[in-house]
Symmetry: D2
Subunit: 326 residues, 4 copies
């Protein structure tokens, strides 16, 4: 069977390495090459053969029909444009093309770049040439929030509080002292508090799209685990909802990668799998109707490489679950 | 120098063991005995000699002038009453005597039992015969919230969202499968979501005392660390505050056990110390004024045994910092 | 396709649960039922449907053609005998039928019970009705040691020192205080030092079989990780060996589940996979020839459930790799 | 009271930072300054005031009467010589001046540099101007081995197998990918196997000093913990010893920093304390007499900064326990 030749730009970070593995084991793709600072070759876990690793500037973009860019924010857009010019379809894992970021000059202005939260944007993704893969935090938060936004159930003028915690692979593989084992173990802390985190633009774009005037306050935390994100949302509601979890069950009925849980989800339930696991419950003992919504994902799969392959499957008309660990 | 004879009821749980150590090293106290299911003796870290451990029913309460009860909720109140009748002063670490819990029949109705959040209740604690030691989560949350409540700065009708995470010693030392290393490591989850957690009554009592009609939504999480609590509060404000951290600095000026941090506090900064470390910042990019307040404590020290000794010091007229690790 | 009905006795411990998952996902097997203290049903990760869980005494042994017993040592042998009488073939994961243990009266004396270190005993396992699945530590140690024993390369009168470390799932899922997260995290310790560990009999039986008079000194340690065993062997040799790693490469050539590594193996390289990864090097700066041999396995896969399925595949004439994660 | 002005060269690595803290809290010392790549100031935990941090080349060596060098191996010796010329006494934590390393030209040939395993070299250290502080692994191993070497109890021609495991602070604070939390957590591996580890020279020098012809095979491992070393020694003996632990009890009687344990020592028992905890037992079921000896230390205290202060106390005629956590 012909397999689609695929390139991964930025193949040695955590998301890039995960992508290389997914592509190498994908029944309809083959990894043509990856780029990295140190050329050589790599052999993903479970792959049958080694794959060439080239310096970015030497990347033979014309040899790939599909390019995943896991390059750093700010660097990626240029390479997306080059890959397009070389004729490849592209899934960009950086924030460069996501809503809320400045438009990318290098990219042909006519290029439609859907924001690939696959379950919410499947029709836009199908047939697109470039997809902006969502950030890890926004993936968990927006899939959790959508059923409330869509029904205009968020209380007017509400403060949506989102405390989210991520494993350290979310901070990347570049060695920094604060990411050393001896610094992270037995610790927990918030970071970027009150600041303008890169992900906030994505989140607010979605609120705006639904006409909500709520404030979403996002506080990320660093967990002493390798992988996984848990987002905890406290959402004041416009009115009481009789069967709160029923909203998520209705909206995600039939979705292979969304699980509506009967108990608060844990990282262990999602790590290694391309799923989001969501739980919703009304706040007890409150005077007003308030929803607590929890969403857990593997930050490297549903939060990055997994959703990127999911988007690619949809773009290419493959089975959406193809090559993805459930 | 005469040292005050002290008993610790329930000396083998994590908080009880911590108490035994603090008492044994306290310059003005000596550990007369501890109670536990398995009688014998124990030697706290850093203690010069071993101390008898007796079954609870054999506890010679008349030999102690001060009793700390670290007995389970529901069991403790009876023993507080017995210790009072034997003439001892008591600090109760259980929830039995805290606000929001039903009154304790065994205890003489006239007994005033202040809620010992020491920094906020010093005058009530001084000279009291019995003190209800606050829960670990409420200690962090209420010390963080007090400057806003006191100034009536919480927005009317607001939802105060509190996502808090605790190390596993907060769940006690009784062996349960879900607390095994193989279950907790590399995991993170919320628990008791939307439920009526024991601590909620304490929290709401404080809101009511300040006349706030806000809803406080408390979502606790279990962290893969041994010790420490971090509480993350998102608080809609009545009006913008020019110097937000200045409120905490003003209110806790001169407090030995409160640190107003210039960056988000981490567990490592507080573990092993009887302090609360607080950080406050306004939410960026919000349409309305919102405060993010973070508070970190060691759940076994400022959240349990340390604050218990701090209360005892105040009750007895000792230096408040006596015997406490800074 | 007809699938072989399989039972797992003791399905809720860590090895039992792993077995249930492997069987449920095995292309030629189907999980008929499992036994556990608490009857009900279970749904292994990745399984399509839930499976009944019965109390051990209610186990319908005649409904299974293959039985895996993950029952405790001392309890298992009786149930192996019952399963045999009911006509099933059995893989016993307990130590009851392993060499060095007393003979099992209940079992028909004529029953041959090969010690299923599959790579070394394939011919014995093929067609056997009962197989004694090796212990986790002996699996790693004996696969590491075999090439030296087989060639009589261990120095006469030598002391073979084996320091081995296991993740906490090796200690079972029964809640004990010393296995709580708060006790294990940030710790490391040896246990059973100098004692007659259950595994020592298995190890010495293998030495005796090869006529070696060496003393094997086994010191197990408890690691703060969930899964994995690393065994570190220091072996005085009879004579220098020019290409030490070549011995392992020669002996395990073509083995799907044995990897001869070019660098010391790590737990992360083997966890989740049914492999042993071995590294050998001569000691530097020594006056005498000495080999250092390292072997890493996932204690629940190659050290328990994985090798059990591997043995079952061989017993039944299936492809040896069938249903096993590489 | 006059306090001795002390400098710490290399004050930002893990050992250097620990030293700064110990000196700052030492009753007879005051931290004059520290050196680091980034000048500024630091305030050790528990210290009353901040201390200047200077670039190494700007270090005012004449302002310190005692200098601790925690500089890298290869760099340190030059600065030891400069500090000597400036008139300071020096404890060098690098390997530069330890036995088995080439002589240091810069240092006056007449300078006697005792190897400061304090308990075994107290008379040499007393009054010395320069002391070579032992490595972390050799401290644990040699204190464990000394009672056997001293009595010539190691079997002639024996292989002493030492499998030792260290927390990641032993690998330093320089950011390297293999030390990131996401790489170290849930892993365990040996490193430098069969190689000529820096510490081997120190170990062999000690064997030679006692006239032993044994081979010591040292295999270090990296543990997923922040602090602590456990060394596991398997030692063939010349003859059986009736009361094996009695040898250690006799030799270390009265030592404040050596604990002979009744059970295998754990890292948690020694972390945060300047002690070595030793356990010895004969191997069971062996044909020949073999000792298993375990030793645990905090690699940053008894294995580095703590022993350095202990040596300084002895050099200066202070109480040996002064300023050291027991």
């Amino acid at each position: 069977m012909h397999k689609l030749p695929v390139a991964v730009l930025g193949g040695t970070g955590y998301a890039g390495a995960e992508l290389c593995g997914l592509v190498a084991r994908h029944p309809a793709m083959e990894l043509a090459f990856a780029s990295a600072r140190q050329p050589g070759e790599l052999r993903p876990t479970g792959a049958r053969r080694a794959v060439p690793v080239v310096a970015l500037d030497d990347a033979p973009l014309d040899r790939a029909e599909l390019v995943f860019s896991a390059l750093p924010h700010g660097v990626s857009a240029t390479w997306v444009a080059r890959a397009r010019r070389a004729g490849a379809r592209v899934v960009d894992l950086s924030s460069d093309l996501r809503p809320g970021n400045p438009p990318v000059a290098a990219l042909d202005g006519a290029t439609r770049v859907p924001y690939g939260l696959t379950e919410l944007a499947r029709d836009d993704v199908r047939g697109a040439d470039v997809v902006a893969n969502p950030g890890c935090y926004p993936t968990a938060i927006l899939l959790a929030l959508a059923p409330l936004l869509r029904r205009d159930l968020v209380a007017p003028g509400a403060t949506i509080a989102v405390a989210a915690a991520s494993g350290v692979t979310g901070a990347g593989a570049s060695p920094r002292r604060e990411l050393l084992f001896a610094e992270v173990a037995e610790d927990f802390r918030a970071y970027g508090v009150g600041n303008d985190h890169r992900h906030v633009a994505e989140l607010q774009a979605m609120l705006a799209r639904h006409g909500s005037d709520a404030d979403l306050v996002f506080t990320p935390h660093l967990l002493p685990v390798a992988r996984g994100i848990l987002a905890t949302l406290t959402v004041p509601l416009r009115e009481p909802v009789a069967d709160l979890p029923g909203l998520w069950r209705a909206d995600y009925d039939g979705e292979a990668f969304v699980e509506i849980a009967a108990a608060p989800p844990s990282l262990r339930e999602v790590v290694g799998r391309n799923v989001v696991r969501i739980f919703a419950a009304p706040a007890a003992n409150a005077r007003r109707p308030i929803a607590i919504v929890l969403a857990a994902i593997d930050n490297l799969l549903k939060g990055a490489a997994g959703q990127a392959v999911q988007n690619a499957n949809v773009m290419l008309g493959l089975a959406e679950q193809s090559g993805l660990p459930l």
